[in-house]
Subunit: 443 residues, 2 copies
Amino acid sequence: MKIILLSGGSGKRLWPLSNDARSKQLLKVLCAPGGEKESMIQRIVRQIRETGLTDEIVVAIGAKQRDAIELQLGDEITIVAEPSSRHTFPAIALACSYLAEQGTQADEPIIVVPSDTFTDNSYFQSIREMADAVTRRVADLVLMGIEPTYPSTRYGYILPAEHSGSDPVAVKNFIEKPSAEVAERLIAAGALWNGGVFAFRLGYLMDILQRMMPGADYRTLRANYEAMPKSSFDYAVVEKSESIAAVVYRGRWKDIGTWNSLTEELSERVHGNVKSEACDDTYIINELEIPLVCLGGKNMVVAASPDGILVTERGLSENLKHLVDGLGKRPMYETRRWGEYKVIDSVEYPDGYCALTKRLTLQPGKNISYQRHNCRTEVWTFLSGQGEIVLNGRRSPVNRGDVFTIPKGMLHGLRAITPLTFIEVQSGTNLVEEDIERFDFEW
Amino acid sequence: MKIILLSGGSGKRLWPLSNDARSKQLLKVLCAPGGEKESMIQRIVRQIRETGLTDEIVVAIGAKQRDAIELQLGDEITIVAEPSSRHTFPAIALACSYLAEQGTQADEPIIVVPSDTFTDNSYFQSIREMADAVTRRVADLVLMGIEPTYPSTRYGYILPAEHSGSDPVAVKNFIEKPSAEVAERLIAAGALWNGGVFAFRLGYLMDILQRMMPGADYRTLRANYEAMPKSSFDYAVVEKSESIAAVVYRGRWKDIGTWNSLTEELSERVHGNVKSEACDDTYIINELEIPLVCLGGKNMVVAASPDGILVTERGLSENLKHLVDGLGKRPMYETRRWGEYKVIDSVEYPDGYCALTKRLTLQPGKNISYQRHNCRTEVWTFLSGQGEIVLNGRRSPVNRGDVFTIPKGMLHGLRAITPLTFIEVQSGTNLVEEDIERFDFEW
């Protein structure tokens, strides 16, 4: 059995903590058994290992998440990053073609698991049953049907075929996000929530991919990724399949998609530099250094990050997405393979000239790539740590108090020996991450 | 008649918009007649002028407020700044001795007016009556008694003498912040709120000062200001006076001391980069550049500034002070005579080394003083505007993109020709405003 852990999405619903580079499943706000904090994806990887399901996990992710995922999951997990964002079917197809290229047999059961669900360990027992059902060829496609706890209007429903008493059950049809009234009738008729977990033989998916893009293997799919239609796995595979079964899961299950659902699982009510009094069932998370004071408030969520500040009633947090769509053109905080940065100031002048000031920290032994920019100048003021800087091929040590001006076109690289913190003032006419040319360098 | 406008206090109750350098009376959040925004102190000065009361206003302020007050009130107002903070009696005595030095006669009525009350113009008619009462020698000290609108426990009460039917009324005694029950009985007995407005002849106060510090004039009082006891005008003068009358004011009166009272007078419900939905009777002020999103919430105040973030129920905002006492060692935003700055980042390392990053803007024609620091290095990166820099006596033009490193001990000054914006990274072992030596320089 191989597991493809899906990690994508912009996570607008958990703004301002989540952004394009830090999806909700990467927020370290859950409580791990040892008392430490862990993210949703770390929790699921830990659970997969604890239940002995498999060590062969491939994480299928959006391109912008690579650094953050690597930092959280370490080197033992294989990451297959989308070259660009094209929805779940292309991402799963890319991960499958990677597995095929690595020698996985066509009969091997593949399980696609979302990374933003909160479950107990019995969930992974159901996943094992799904893999067994695939091996036994019960159906081409085996889903997980979650026993509903209330007539939700936010989920898709799986309606089992009548007289389908066995587990796995045969699937009659799907109903997407019904009204509460319809949901009640569906539940009475034995319908299940669609948990977004899919199991199939590798060969089944590779055949679908071959029909769509003849001759496609991992390399050609990567190279022609833009040619793939932007379609969901549900649309491209599930809805077209004629042989579907579902394993029923009756344990704890929750998709942590909104502030309301996340807060129920938070390790603490208050995170960061917060003072509060007379707050009733209110959760406060402050990632900024300035203090956040909360006096009163009932059933609220207050969250502050370099991307923005949110004050919401918990029950209304589902409506957040449309309010934050279009806010913030760029992430103001990112963890990267070399460390992290946050934007501390940003100005744009009417003539198009911009300035962006960041505080960056490089972890020991890590480096940023040897690079140059065509449209911006950078000024680095070092606050702490030791490292080595390379400017147009010349190496120098860097220490606290050093200042370097890096004009447009100058090749520069930086490596940390101890944790290295500096302030960077970028200025120029086009301050985008894409204004970067990377070069090889032997540190 | 001369008016001493009292402007002091740290304004913790309107945190995070107010700080030691920006008291609540300096917040430009009220609506001026032309639709522009004005601060409480600007409103009172405008009202004094509109009602033709006097043009001779002396503003008695704390030392840290000078630049901000000058920017708001312009050159036509005389400012007497306390050398250090010593409560209301020393501040009023200093302003009186300044008036005496300027040739004001001992018989001249002086009116002390607080700068954080919100009133209509008839208030100034009552002030005129107070001055008349002083001139007619009705009493040594004439107060303003506000007709109470509810049994407040937050104000002091003035109890008129029995059978004192005339206006001004004779004062029998004072009751400080009574219980609600006592307040009700006081109101039934005809008591008035003490509005903190005091009228007296200049000579009356100068005599008290002479008894306290024989021979004191403006210069010696300034020079020996630290020797003055920290006492309130109420304690040092009002409680000891044997001849007190009160003019009754029946118009609109409010002290804008809490978020709850301020919000009722705000020009708009939302200020700054805010998106809101389903908010009920909620006020949102965002002085940060990052977006603030508010979804739901009833009777709340949400305020964000470089000093911090506040989320409070309006009815609880009176309890704010003790929560924010001790927060933030330094103001993160200040307006100064030369322009303004905000702190965008601040780090302190375990070994005592600190870094503070600011964005500053100098107004055209203004300069920061020619100065040097003993404990910190500054790195300036210019983002916009033209100006002139002086480093150890050498002048150079400055333009967008220029970078200057100013090590400890280097003399430096800066003057703006057009609005001049730059990022300053300060670093060193003692980042306090006091680490500054100023030198004369002929621009």
